[in-house]
Amino acid sequence: MANRTIPRLLQTPAVILLLFWMLIPLGMTLFFSFIRYVLNNLRNPHWTTPSIENWRGFGNYQFVWGQDSFWLAMKNSLVIVTSILFLTVILGVVIAVLINRSFPGRGIVRVLLISPFFVMPAVNAVLWINMILDPVLGLQGLAVSGINDLSAGLKDAPLIGWFFSLWPELEPISFRATQTSSIAVIMMVVWQWTPFAILIFMTSLQSEDQQQKEAAVLDGASTWSQFRFLTLPHLGRPIAIVVMIQAIFHLSLYAEIEIVSRGNGNKNLPYYIGELVNNNIGAASAAGIFAVILANIVAIFLLRMVGKTLME
């Protein structure tokens, strides 16, 4: 039909631009993942230029698949993302419900609660790892040594001394170590992103129908039942939104990992790919394709799960 041609023609430039925007990087990544392409190789200098003649088939994929560090990064990515999602959603719902009631100073409390979201991720990581979690100079170190001093001082006190002499000397935890650095990352990102969840849940709570709650009160529903059967289903959709947006963001965490431990022990997928990019572009591209597949699986899986459990 003639009257549809013109609008479509007018839309075409934008659509084509968007297509190229998406397709060129994806196409290049796919292409690189099937060829040998490195930045520096003295024995095979022809590998340093991308060319179809260096075709490697699924070789890059096999290489990545066979690396222990790839699986470690995969596992770490999943652990970090799911822990952050779990904690931010629970904290977000609890805090949003609490501050939805009116109390003096509510406005200030709300602003304070939202403020972590405005801190830059790198600054956030530096603050946490150096000033809060540092085992010597951070709040953690100060608190631990303070408690140790206190119990040591009270050991010889009469009457209560025996109680304090039972206390072991506490050891501060180093959050830059292999075993703990992903915990540090989870903590700082949860601190930063809980406000986002609160913000979304709070707006949603304000649109909750009060008459429904009154009806539930008359129907004999306890506060918990009201929360479980009315508020939580009402929050189903915002929770799905928070989970989806955060999953997208946190699968690509980088700054926090870099600052906390330079990838020591808690490499996630982006960090692993970043290390490969230093030389082996082909393998990095293959890992990138794996990351795309993972992101899609995670997104579909999470949405299904959230949708089913909350909509009753």
Binding site: Q212, E214, D219, F229, L230, E312
Partner: protein
């Protein structure tokens, strides 16, 4: 059983007294209607009975038991809200079953009761739908169903029909009256529509600014309104209230004449006036007549189709034994 008694019940929001202390008794099995203009405190009064608002002073008794401090759910009342307040995420079945589920009733018994309630309200085919997929009237019935299954001692209705269109409203009005006849339960019904009050009530409670103006059966209120406000509020079209010579002649300050109790004649009568707007309903005709010396028009009801035209001169005479006389304080003179 559901005898509800309010003793000196008062409600203040901050310094504003919404309901000055009032006493009221609603007998077991009675259909009581609270009626009044918007903001008169009728909904607040209902919410006080339901326990959704706390009384500032006074006591609420149900079946002789003081429930002033009791929780809403323990009062054994069921309420139907203006917005229906259905739970949007649950099916009709789960909505109706919700209060029973909260009582931790046996699932088989719940199933049975829901089925009975759904059948009596013609909802059986809709049990697995969600409220969003139902029409206004069906939602209303689900809300009533949710109230019925609890077998409460009294039902409270808070303007339940005001979200429905006119035709549905008449139908639901009949269904609720029918329900009352069948269940023989105490019902309290809040509305601003005097037609609903007149057609459904055993007892009407007319409220204005939190004060009970009059309590009585619909016809008592129609035949002997206690004051000017009740006279003007009950009956449709509104009672004509005129002051001046015609009133003083009969020994009162305000003379109340219902539109249906005025005779109209083309050549002689007490008041001379000109016809303004005529509303032809087919069965009746309402004339708005301008009378000399009166600011407001006088409404006259004539049976059948009467043909007077705009601007015609007309004479009006009230039916003498149906006029209402009000003194200077607005109260009825016997």
């Amino acid at each position: 059983m559901g005898r509800i008694q309010l003793k000196g019940v008062q409600k203040k929001f901050g310094d504003v007294e919404v309901i000055p202390p009032l006493d009221l008794t609603i007998e077991d099995g009675e259909f009581a209607v609270f009626v009044g203009p918007s903001g008169c405190g009728k909904s607040t009064l209902l919410r006080l009975i339901a326990g959704l608002e706390e009384t500032t002073s006074g006591t609420v008794e149900i079946n002789g038991e003081d429930v002033t401090m009791a929780s809403p759910s323990s009062r054994g009342l069921a309420m139907v809200f203006q917005s229906y307040a259905l739970y949007p995420h649950m099916t009709v079945r789960k909505n109706i079953a919700f209060p029973l589920r909260m009582e931790k009733m046996d699932p088989a018994e719940i199933e049975k009761r829901v089925a009975v309630a759904a059948k009596s309200l013609n909802l059986t085919d809709y049990l697995d739908r969600k409220p969003g997929q139902l029409s206004g009237g069906q939602r209303q019935r689900v809300a009533i169903g949710r109230a019925i299954v609890r077998e409460p001692s009294a039902f409270l209705f808070d303007e339940p029909l005001s979200n429905l269109d006119a035709a549905l409203r008449v139908g639901m009005r009949l269904e609720i009256s029918e329900l009352h006849k069948r269940l023989q339960n105490t019902m309290i019904y809040v509305t601003h529509d005097q037609v609903e009050a007149m057609t459904m009530a055993d007892k009407i409670v007319v409220l204005q600014a939190g004060v009970i103006e009059q309590v009585g059966s619909p016809l008592e209120l129609y035949n002997a309104p206690r004051n000017k406000f009740v006279g003007g509020f009950i009956g449709s079209p509104k009672m004509n209230q005129i002051e001046g010579e015609a009133a003083t002649k009969r020994g009162c300050t305000t003379l109340g004449m219902r539109p249906e109790h005025i005779n109209m004649s083309p050549d002689s009568g007490e008041f001379k006036g000109t016809i303004g707007v005529a509303e032809q309903l087919g069965s009746d005709t309402f004339f708005h007549v301008h009378i000399e010396g009166q600011e407001e028009t006088v409404t006259v009801r004539q049976e059948g189709q009467v043909n007077y035209k705009y601007g015609d001169t007309i004479y009006l005479t009230p039916v003498e034994d149906r006029v209402h006389k009000f003194g200077p304080d607005g109260l009825r003179i016997a």
